[in-house]
């Protein structure tokens, strides 16, 4: 209830007839303190209820021991599994974590970066917002030499090379589109958010590659760009309905939009997959709940988080020279009912 005076290393030192520096070294397990002394120090620290003052430590060491994370949204199965992966690595290595979300806005991302910079993070993990057009807002971070690892939504900086953890979005886009083609679709719509964002432009590229490989002509009308959220489904479907030739397949660059689109198609009396087959991206929980269940691309969020964090921590804990790397994780097409028009070809599977 009352704010007692905090126990400091001086209090411990006095009690043990040692100097503060010895106590400090002991507490940090410094190698040139006697084992026995270390034991005594830890014991009395414990007994006296000593709690390290991180402000003093950070002030002195000019390090915060904290890693910042910025990602587009927290309320997503996928992104929160990334967080879980990050957290496990970060706490295992004794770092702290500050998490912030950009809500798909570059302006908010800029604010987040400012806040994290002012908190003096030692390193940054970031997955960019969909409308982030450049990395200028990271300049303070780069200028101060704070290591950055990108995951999922990345962008290259002209001069500052950073490590990245990604999937092969071109290949994934190809796989999704190819699957629709194999299911007999030939007028396939691609729905994405801002193509400034690598994941959307690369999935588009994969889509184009598939069309090309299967000799399907490309119709620019079929490329739709909107927010990929719950509200955009209606808009997208109404655009589709206005086309003279109705499409027979939709590849949506995330599950949320695929689900919203399916809901709206059903409202309009259009059958999925018979009239239009749909494929999403991310394999979030709702993709199994919707009817028909959603065919989608799965990739491992937790693992992505773990690897990104481990990569950053390595950068933070090893000596120079900083060597950067790009890790590409595997993805996988999960076939469910929303795209299955030829049951014979491939049975739906629910293994993930």
């Amino acid at each position: 209830m009352t704010e007692k005076k905090e126990v400091t290393i001086y209090d411990i030192a006095k009690k043990l007839n040692l100097s503060a520096s010895t106590v400090s070294r002991g507490l940090n397990g410094h190698s040139d303190i006697r084992k026995e002394t270390i034991r005594k120090i830890n014991l009395t620290a414990q007994a006296m209820g000593y709690q390290q003052n991180t402000f003093a430590r950070n002030l002195r060491k000019n390090r915060s021991n904290t890693i910042g994370v910025i990602l587009p949204r927290l309320d997503s199965n996928f992104q929160s599994s990334v967080i879980a992966g990050i957290e496990s690595q970060v706490s295992k290595n004794g770092f702290n974590l500050i998490i912030s979300q950009s809500r798909e806005s570059m302006a908010k991302e800029k604010e987040n970066i400012k806040t994290l910079f002012n908190s003096r993070i030692d390193g940054l993990l970031i997955s960019l917002s969909s409308d982030t057009s450049n990395l200028d807002h990271l300049s303070t971070i780069f200028r101060k030499g704070i290591p950055v690892v990108f995951f999922d939504r990345i962008k290259d900086h002209p001069t500052c090379k950073c490590s990245k953890v990604i999937i092969d979005n071109v290949r994934a886009g190809f796989d999704a589109t190819e699957h629709l083609i194999e299911q007999g679709c030939s007028r396939i719509v691609y729905v994405s958010d801002n193509r400034l964002c690598n994941v959307y432009s690369e999935r588009l590229k994969g889509y184009m590659n598939a069309l090309e490989q299967y000799k399907i002509s490309y119709d620019p009308e079929l490329i739709i760009e909107d927010k990929l959220n719950e509200e955009s489904g209606k808009r997208t479907v109404s655009r589709l309905l206005k086309m003279k030739n109705l499409p027979d397949g939709i590849f949506a660059a995330n599950d949320t939009s695929a689900v919203a689109i399916i809901c709206q198609l059903k409202n309009e009396g259009i059958r999925v997959p018979e009239d239009i087959a749909v494929v999403g991206f991310n394999n979030v929980y709702i993709s199994r709940v919707i009817e028909p269940s959603l065919t989608t691309i799965h990739y491992p969020g937790m693992e992505m988080g773990e690897i990104a964090a481990a990569t950053l921590i390595e950068l933070l804990t090893t000596e120079e020279p900083k060597i950067t790397k790009t890790v590409v994780l595997d993805h996988k097409l999960i076939v469910r009912k929303s795209s299955l028009r030829k049951e014979s070809l491939s049975a739906p599977h629910e293994d993930i």
Copy 2:
């Protein structure tokens, strides 16, 4: 790229021929510095790229200017809207935020508290995990006199009174159950997580009240306790199927479990709402997507977060005596298809 020396208040002082203390005061808008001097200080601080060193400031003031948040999960529409509300208040008032999740585990919650305590948070916002049986793990927080505000999942402490932001769960449980009764259900199952948690025990109480008011006899077999997640739906349904009398209504204490239950009921060939009507709780997005759409209880997460944060900040910024309060927000029954057996009585509405 290079780690330049940071600009300090001494650098500013030197440039302006002032003392560091004047600069410090000026930067903090202290009232007894001349307006003109303040302006000059701010201008040159800006020009020199001065960034306050929070470690030094915190060390000196023995305050972190940081608020800690602990909640059960981040990957939930509801809880992330609470976060959004918290964030808006916190940043508006110049505090920082550390967010952590307990993943419905008291052990994890204990760790979170330890971490936040070591980060020397000035105040704590917490929604308890479902299996938190007591507040012993908060003792360090209470002992140091750190203000705590509970929201949603609360528990009373024998001696330390705290402010709370909640809904009337008894009433909400009553409303949900009454609705099922009005729809002709008489064997109504109540599905919840751990009843140590106020929200679940109170919703049960509301359920009991409704049964009593409508003279429906209470059958303890119909009270089911499990985790309320995606996996538990199967278990719950298989328990129901083993009953000699199949129930005709289910009140699930959250939407996730209601959805999982509906999916499994459908798998088993049981019709919703004809055979069994279902009501959930929270009004998350998926409740609108599932077929049939889910009747549920809505309550305002964002507002809950805003009020909780504002309450804490008031505690932090005003002088003693600390006066605590309890804010009860309104909830609302959203009727959708999963419970509608008598269309005449009340049409489904989708206004939220």
